[in-house]
């Protein structure tokens, strides 16, 4: 919390070009928000299929949704934070996709539920902040 206040104080004390750059940010985008919600929803649905043969398909869907979010976020100017978040999220999903659909390794139930849970938690954080971008 303190770091947020410090950061906010720093922004308020900026002058000239630095402040202009800081305020030049990507605004709320319906498509970006929907893509983030899709990742969150797919992670929630996928967790229910852990330990079943349908898990592979759910992982593929999740990979597709996370990739769309990252690619879309990258196409928007001045969108650095969302690009960082979506890129890191995609890397988390990559491990799941690697095991299920590329290496086709045996996956433990605990790994499957933990992984989907972590992805859903992160997607929720992303959804909350992307939804509060200035209109």
């Amino acid at each position: 919390m303190k770091k947020l206040l410090v950061l906010f104080a720093m922004v308020m004390s900026m002058s000239g070009c630095a402040a202009i750059d800081y305020f030049d940010m990507a605004r709320f985008d319906n498509n970006e928000y929907l893509l983030a919600v899709n990742v969150r929803t797919q992670a929630n649905l996928g967790a229910r299929k852990c330990g079943t043969p349908e898990a592979n398909h759910e992982v593929s869907m999740l990979w597709s949704d996370a990739l769309k979010l990252k690619n879309y976020a990258e196409s928007i100017e001045n969108n650095e934070e969302t690009v960082t978040m979506s890129t890191e999220l995609l890397e988390i999903v990559r491990g799941l996709d690697q095991r299920y659909n590329i290496d086709k390794k045996e996956v433990s139930m605990s790994y499957c539920t933990s992984k989907f849970g972590l992805i859903e938690k992160n997607a929720t954080i992303i959804t909350n902040v992307v939804g509060k971008k200035p209109r």
Partner: protein, 83 residues
């Protein structure tokens, strides 16, 4: 609502702090020790927590930037300025 009150209210409602990554790390370690997770699964999940931290940091940055922008917009509207 003036800008300072708005800021105070917002500071008390920080969404990203709901993410408690330390609790996750403890749960993964317990699962690994009990044999529910293999070693490589455990390592991957712990790496994921580092990525989650980066997501939380970027989310905090975005939240501050969004709020600063919103407050600036409100000030401009209140002052009746047209850019």
């Amino acid at each position: 609502m003036d800008a300072m009150n708005e800021l105070k209210e917002w500071v008390g409602n920080n969404n990203t702090e709901l993410a408690d990554w330390a609790a996750e790390a403890e749960a993964y370690t317990n699962d690994f020790k009990s044999g529910a997770l293999s070693e490589d699964e455990y390592k991957e999940l712990m790496e994921d927590l580092k990525r989650s931290e980066k997501i939380s940091q970027a989310a905090d940055d975005l939240a501050v930037r969004s709020k600063a922008n919103e407050m600036l917009d409100n000030i401009i509207i209140a002052a009746g300025c047209v850019l």
